[in-house]
Symmetry: C2
Subunit: 330 residues, 2 copies
């Protein structure tokens, strides 16, 4: 049995869709036990169901609350209580679609960093024109040092290896030109670490090629990564809505788009972040998965599925070993 702690209060569609996702997961995964954390009034509906344990937490950290203050004030929040259960050994992984800054902060505070690591990173799996790839950091560390980027590369590489069973994944740095020597000071200095490592470092990838499938792991700082991730989501929505707006001008076009609907639906599924589960916080002493803030039941189920994979792969230990093996002077 794998025991996943789920924050039912986190996310734009919590608690309804999160609870739905929990029940869906239990139907899908027979070796799953869920520990649901949230308000009593919410949990009462599912209390007593098979393979569900309920833990009450009467406070909720809101999506837009400044993480630092929230963690100080709301000791009884579902996020802090949930991660506390991991620390006490009562759960194997923690999943939340809540305030990502608060989740990362709480994890760091309660669980701590793994050995030899400077800063944890949020990694996300994204679709490309070829195969899915890992992109990190997408928001944990806004101001990175070159050593951070190197360690993100090590962790991203191990993450990719363990989840897709691919040896020596191709790692690239996100930059403003493919040529070595292009980039800001951060990228230029990080390059030195990668070059001198035994990682499968293939060079720089430009913004244009982020989704081209050129690398298995693409490394950047948390500021650039977060901007890129959100820009991608926003732009995809903008393109679709502009398309729809144009189509509305003509009945023939409307008919056309209707006929193309099944293809559009397949496309949507392939490029749907919900299919790829949540984003693991790599580098804390525990399996912590940040699900998308707009998670519905499918997204929650996939985040739980991913959490189970991490537990089975013993990801935290593998990251610790990998960082030790590829240690650099920090």
């Amino acid at each position: 049995m794998i025991r996943v702690v789920l924050d039912v209060m986190g996310g734009d569609y919590a608690p309804e869709k999160v609870i739905k996702g929990a029940l869906l997961s239990l139907r899908c995964f027979k070796n799953l036990e869920l520990i649901l954390v949230g308000k009593r009034e919410v949990l009462e509906k599912v209390e007593g169901e098979e393979r569900i344990t309920c833990v009450y937490a009467e406070e909720v950290i809101e999506m837009d609350e400044p993480p630092g203050e929230a963690l100080k004030k709301k000791k009884n929040s579902s996020i802090l209580k949930g991660i506390g259960l991991l620390k006490e050994g009562k759960g194997d992984a923690f999943v939340s679609a809540g305030n990502s800054g608060a989740i990362a902060g709480a994890a760091l505070l309660v669980l701590g960093r793994i050995k030899n690591l400077r800063r944890p990173a949020i990694a996300i799996v994204l679709p490309s024109l070829k195969d899915p790839f890992v992109f990190l950091d997408v928001g944990a560390v806004s101001d990175c040092k070159p050593q951070d980027l190197y360690q993100f590369g090590v962790m991203g590489s191990i993450f990719f290896e363990k989840i897709w069973k691919v040896k020596n994944p191709r790692i690239a740095l996100l930059s403003i030109g493919e040529e070595i020597g292009k980039g800001n000071q951060l990228v230029k200095k990080a390059y030195e670490y990668f070059k001198n490592s035994n990682l499968n470092y293939i060079g720089n990838v430009e913004g244009r090629e982020l989704y081209a499938g050129k690398a298995d792991v693409i490394v950047t700082d948390g500021f650039t990564g977060n901007v890129c991730l959100k820009l991608s989501e926003g732009l995809a929505e903008t393109i679709i809505s502009l398309l729809k707006r144009e189509v509305k001008h003509s009945p023939v076009s409307i008919l056309g788009m209707l006929l193309a609907t099944p293809a559009l639906r397949r496309f949507k599924k392939k490029s749907d972040w919900r299919e790829y589960g949540g984003a693991p916080l790599l580098g804390v002493k525990g399996n912590v998965i940040i699900a998308h803030g707009r998670s519905d039941e499918i997204a929650i189920k996939n985040a739980i599925k991913q959490a189970m994979k991490f537990v089975s792969a013993d990801l935290v230990k593998k990251l610790e070993e990998g960082l030790e093996e590829r240690a650099i002077s920090l």
Copy 2:
């Protein structure tokens, strides 16, 4: 008459499409005189045409050449010669679709910065869900100081005002959260400058909202800006190609997309960077416009049109006055 110096050797489709763009521009704009700079063998075809002057430059800086070295070695390049003509007062503006780093470097070297400015920036006009907006810097300064972002804001604001005749355009910083205090150190410090200025500063815009039309001018550092710009281009292409791939699986979908073609075409035109001309290098003592590397004749014509607007608006002088008026201790 407005005298535009055009580098016919710059760009992926040079010289053919650039020459075509030159001839198209002369047909469209009656008050335009062109000074074409490039190899003799290329220019011979158009020599003697009305309102065209030819200046030979036998060297070409390639698109992927490291700018620093190229500028040292190729003194007879079309870029250096063309910008030299501006310096000598023989032209009012310079347009090139060539190596953007080399254009920026040459402009800085030959023309110099305007008074009170730390670093020039490349500004680009982009479409949004509402009206077009100015995004800068997209590649001139990879490592910015907070003061740079502030000055980019001042220049972007003046640029927007002069070109669209809109007073007090809304300025925002690109960041990783709308709340003040979110961002990396650079953005947080730049915020102080904006807050204390008399610019119409409206706060932060997230990556998700870059194209939402929330601000008229969006300011970022040259690394993030360049990554965002290229990511946007790449992603739009990826989405279209994934869509096409899905559609190919079914004849009904193909029919559907064919029927929707006029709408798709209208959409494409609206979101086409070629419609928005080139990207001015704001802050050098001269009107320098960097056209897209993949410019065809339409893009070249629009870049020339934009160059003419800058000359008419006396943009360089306006920028100088604006920076003086809004000077900060650097």
